[in-house]
Amino acid sequence: MKHYLGKALWLLFGVAMLSFLLAPVIFTAVYSVGESRYFQFPPQAWSLQWYTAFFRAQKFYDAMINSAILAVVVTPLCLLAALPTAHALARYRFPGQRWIDALVLSPLIVPGVITGVALLSLFRILHQDIGLVRMSVAMMVVCFPYALRALAANYQAVDPATEEAARDLGYGPLRTWWTITLPQLRTGLLAGAVFVFVEVIDNFSVNVFLVDLHSNTLPIAAYQHIRDVDDPLVAVMSTLLSILSVLLVLGFSRMMGQERMFKNR
C-alpha cells in the first residue's frame, strides 16, 4: 500500500514539473494562433493572422535579418577559432595549461550586463559605432567557451593512435588533422554550432548595450514591442524560435544517431 502511494506521489510530482516546464511554451503557441488580440483560453477562434502580421512588420523583419546575419557570421568564426585552441589544449603539454583552460572559459561566468558595459567602454574608445560589428565581436567572445567546451569534450574521444598511424604512413601534420582528426570531430562541431547559434539568436543582456539605431536583433525588438504594444506578435516570434530549436535538437540527435550507426557497422 505504502509502495503504491510513493509511486503515485512521484508520478504526480513528475507531471507537475512537466507542466511547469512546458506551460509557458505551450500557452505562448496557443496565444499565437488565436484570433484575439488579448490572451484567452481556450481561444474563441483560430487564425494565422498574427503570423502574417509578424512577417509584414518591418521592425521584426529587419530584426530577423540582423539576427540571421549575426548567427551566420559568428557561428562558423567561433568554431574556427575554437578548433586550434581545442587541439592545442588536447595535444600539447605546456606550463600554465590549467590557467589557460580556466581563462578561456571565463566569459561564461561573467554576468552578461557586465560584459556588455565593458565591451561598450572598449568600443567607445576605439570609436567603433556600427552595431553589427560590435555585436559580432561581442558574440564571438561570449560564445567562444561554448564552442570550445563542445570540441574539447569531443577531443577526449579521439584516439591519438589513429593520428599516429597516419603520421607513420607518411602524412604531414596538417594532412593528418584534415583527413583523420577533423572527421572524428563532427559531433563536437555540431554540438558547438547548435549552442553558439542558439546563444547568438537569444542573447539580450550583452547585445542591448552594443546595438545601434539600425541593428536591432530579435530579442531586443521583442522587448521593445512588449514594452509598447499589447498583441501576440511576440508570441508568434517565440513560437517560431521554439520550433527552430526543436528542429535543431531533432536534426542533431538524428545525425548523432547516424554516427552511431556507422560505428556499429
Binding site: 509557458p24 511554451v25 575554437a82 586550434p84 605546456f94 581563462l103 574608445i125 511576440v234
Partner: protein, 286 residues
C-alpha cells in the same frame, strides 16, 4: 613544438585580449568622471565613482538584495530540481526518461525572452493562472503575480531549473542503484537512503549545479526587466539605468566592477565547497 602550440592558441589569445582588454578599459573608465548632460566623460582619474556607490544606500541595497534573491532562487532550484533529476535518473520507464530529458532540452534551448514572455501571459491579471484560480473559487480578485518579485522568481526558477537538473542528473545516474538497494535491504527507510546515501554521494554535482544556477540568477537582467515592470530592480537593471537613464558610463562601470568582484567571490565560495564535497566523497569511498 612549443612554437606550434603558441600559433594554435593565437585565435583564442586575440579573443581573450578583447575580453580582458575591455575589462581593463572599463575599470579605468570607472575612475573617470562623466561630463554632465553628455554621453562623454573626462579625466582626472579618481575613485569618486567607487566611493559614491559605497555611500549610496539605494545602490548598496540593490546589490545586497540581488545576492539574497539569487541565493533564495538557488535554494529553490535545488529543492525542486534535485527530486526531479532523481526521478529522471531512477524511473523504470525509458520512454519517460527520454520524454523528460527532451522537454528539459527544449525548454533549455527556447530562449530567455520567449520564456519570460510566456510567463508574462500566464501570470498576468487576465492570465491563465488567475483565471483558473478564480474559476475554482479559491480567490475572487486576480492576484498580482507579475510586476512584483513573485513573477520574476517563478520565471527565473523556470530558467535555472534545466541547467541544474541536467548537471545533477548524470551524477545520480553514476550512483549504482545496487548501493541504494542494499541499504534498503539492510532495513534503512527510503528517506534515510535518500539523505544518507544518494545526496552525500552526489553532493559535488549539487554544489556545481547550484553554482551554475546562482551565476545565472545573479546575472538575471531580461527577466526582472520584463516581469518586474520597473518595480523589481536587480543590480543588472540598476547598471542598465545608470547607462541609459542617467547616461553615466563611468558610474555604471564602477558599479559593474564592484558587482563583478562580489559575484566572483561568491562563486569562488561555491567552488571551494564543491572541492571540499568531492574530497568528502572520496573519503567515504575510502
Amino acid at each position: 613544438m612549443k612554437c606550434r602550440a603558441r600559433l594554435l592558441l593565437l585565435p583564442a589569445a586575440v579573443l581573450m585580449a578583447i575580453f580582458f582588454g575591455a575589462f581593463l578599459v572599463f575599470a579605468a573608465v570607472g575612475m573617470l568622471t562623466s561630463a554632465p548632460g553628455t554621453p562623454g566623460y573626462s579625466a582626472p582619474l579618481t575613485f569618486n565613482n567607487y566611493l559614491r556607490f559605497f555611500t549610496d544606500p539605494v545602490g548598496l541595497g540593490i546589490l545586497g538584495w540581488t545576492v539574497i534573491f539569487s541565493l533564495l532562487l538557488t535554494a529553490a532550484t535545488i529543492v525542486a530540481g534535485y527530486p526531479f533529476a532523481y526521478l529522471i535518473a531512477r524511473t523504470q520507464w525509458p520512454w519517460a526518461r527520454n520524454l523528460l530529458l527532451g522537454v528539459l532540452l527544449v525548454t533549455f534551448l527556447c530562449g530567455s525572452i520567449s520564456r519570460a514572455y510566456g510567463w508574462l501571459i500566464l501570470l498576468g491579471r487576465r492570465g491563465l493562472v488567475n483565471e483558473a484560480l478564480m474559476w475554482t473559487g479559491l480567490i475572487d480578485h486576480p492576484l498580482a503575480l507579475i510586476y512584483n518579485v513573485s513573477g520574476v522568481f517563478i520565471a527565473l526558477l523556470h530558467f535555472t531549473l534545466p541547467y541544474f537538473v541536467l548537471t545533477v542528473f548524470g551524477a545520480i545516474r553514476a550512483v549504482p542503484s545496487q548501493v541504494e538497494e542494499s541499504a534498503r535491504d539492510l532495513g534503512a527507510s527510503a528517506l534515510r537512503v535518500f539523505f544518507q546515501i544518494t545526496v552525500p554521494l552526489t553532493l559535488p554535482a549539487i554544489v556545481g549545479g547550484a553554482a551554475l544556477a546562482f551565476s545565472l540568477a545573479i546575472s538575471a537582467f531580461a527577466f526582472p526587466l520584463l516581469l518586474g515592470g520597473g518595480r523589481v530592480r536587480l543590480i543588472s537593471n540598476y547598471i542598465y539605468d545608470q547607462l541609459f537613464v542617467a547616461f553615466d558610463l563611468p558610474f555604471a562601470a564602477a558599479v559593474s566592477s564592484l558587482f563583478l568582484i562580489v559575484a566572483l567571490a561568491i562563486l569562488w565560495g561555491f567552488f571551494a565547497i564543491e572541492r571540499w564535497a568531492t574530497r568528502a566523497v572520496y573519503r567515504r569511498a575510502g
